[in-house]
Amino acid sequence: MSPRPHIEHIRKPQILAAAAEVITERGLAATRIADIAERAGTSASGVLYWFATKDELLAEALTVDEERFNEYVTERLVTLRSPSAKLLMLFEACVDDYDWSLWIEVWSRALHDDKTRAARQRFDDRWREMIARVIRTGQSSGEFARTHNPDQVALTLATLIDGLALQVTLRDPLITSGQMLETCIVTAERLLEVDLRAEAAASEEQVAETA
């Protein structure tokens, strides 16, 4: 069997990106392999070469989207100095830059499909660890109160974000993304006994002054 590493390198990511787009637009149930093939500029058999089932495809399409979000927030995290600014940025990224329709689709499938369920768990673990790390740093420096375990705070915030995203997605315009952001901030401030915006502004001012 001839090896085809270069084809895999070119084709699979394109197909996954196309799949993520189509699924977001139509939902998984209404997405046909043919739709993905057309978007990716290949044939149905070109798609089916890589994925035995649509669920497998969804699990991997989610991977692409998650990696993109992860890279985006990681890059932005390092540009910010204070844990407060970092936490605010994570909340804003969730509200503004995150594809909730795709993620909610994943929850739906995960109820009935083990692969999707496992993928969701992996990404959730990583996301919660990212939040927990920021909290730990804040607690060490004294910016955040040490009352609560960082992993538990991260879990609470991640859970709240999930529930709020569902509300925004389903009850728009009654519940807005602005309200979602506010609720995240107020909850974090309560748990960490900090004024996030004041701390973030103060630290970014310091950075500007020393520049």
């Binding site: 739906s108 974000i161 999930d162 609720t183």
Partner: protein
């Protein structure tokens, strides 16, 4: 698997029960009139007699399920008089995903919720049920404010926060997330709501 087995279930109820079971087992997308009929021990003609479309059947099945859950919830009155705080604690407890009779409710709720995001035909029933649920929670919060047990707040907003947490925890529980169990859900919600309402978290844990 059915939580109620009343002495005389008429055909319509049997059909609704069957639909609920199938939604819980396979997900809303997979529900077909023919399968519901078979599960209910009825003909497809009879199902069509009661429900003109699949969407109507799904809507009525979910309403049926939540009505029953509501009856169960209020069926047992406690022997002692409860404060508004303890009443709210019990309401929260009723909303937590747990194994047993409430688990199927949770699966249906999450199924509906998640599907309605994608399928506009399911949104009216999802919105209706959500509002009913929220009004119920908000009434418990308002009662506490009126009784002077809770500090002044917007009961609807507090109910929204509670529901966001409950939905978030519910999804995790349904997905078998090891990080989340009912105990943690209960104590976290109690802590956060306690802070919003100005009461001790312990008082809000049933």
């Amino acid at each position: 698997m059915s939580k109620l087995a009343p002495a005389a279930q008429d055909a319509r109820d049997r059909i609704l029960e069957a639909a609920c079971e199938l939604i819980a087992e396979d997900g809303i997308d997979e529900v077909r009139i023919a399968r519901v009929a078979m599960r209910a021990g009825a003909s497809t003609a009879l199902v069509h007699h009661y429900f003109s479309t699949r969407e109507e059947l799904l809507e009525q099945a979910l309403l049926h399920s939540f009505e029953l859950a509501g009856d169960e919830r209020f069926g047992e009155e406690p022997a002692e008089e409860l404060t508004a705080t303890r009443r709210l604690a019990r309401m929260i407890e009723e909303c937590l995903p747990a194994s047993g009779t409430r688990e199927r409710d949770w699966v249906l709720w999450v199924e509906l919720w998640l599907r309605a995001v994608r399928d506009p035909s399911l949104r009216p029933v999802a919105a209706q049920l959500y509002d009913r649920y929220r009004t119920w929670l908000a009434s418990g919060i308002r009662a506490g404010v009126d009784a002077g047990e809770f500090q002044p707040c917007d009961p609807d907003a507090v109910a929204d926060h509670a529901m966001a947490l409950l939905d978030g925890f519910g999804i995790r529980a349904m997905l078998g997330d090891p990080s989340m169990g009912s105990d943690r859900a209960r104590s976290t919600i109690a802590r956060l709501l306690g802070a919003e309402l100005g009461v001790d978290a312990n008082e809000l844990e049933w």
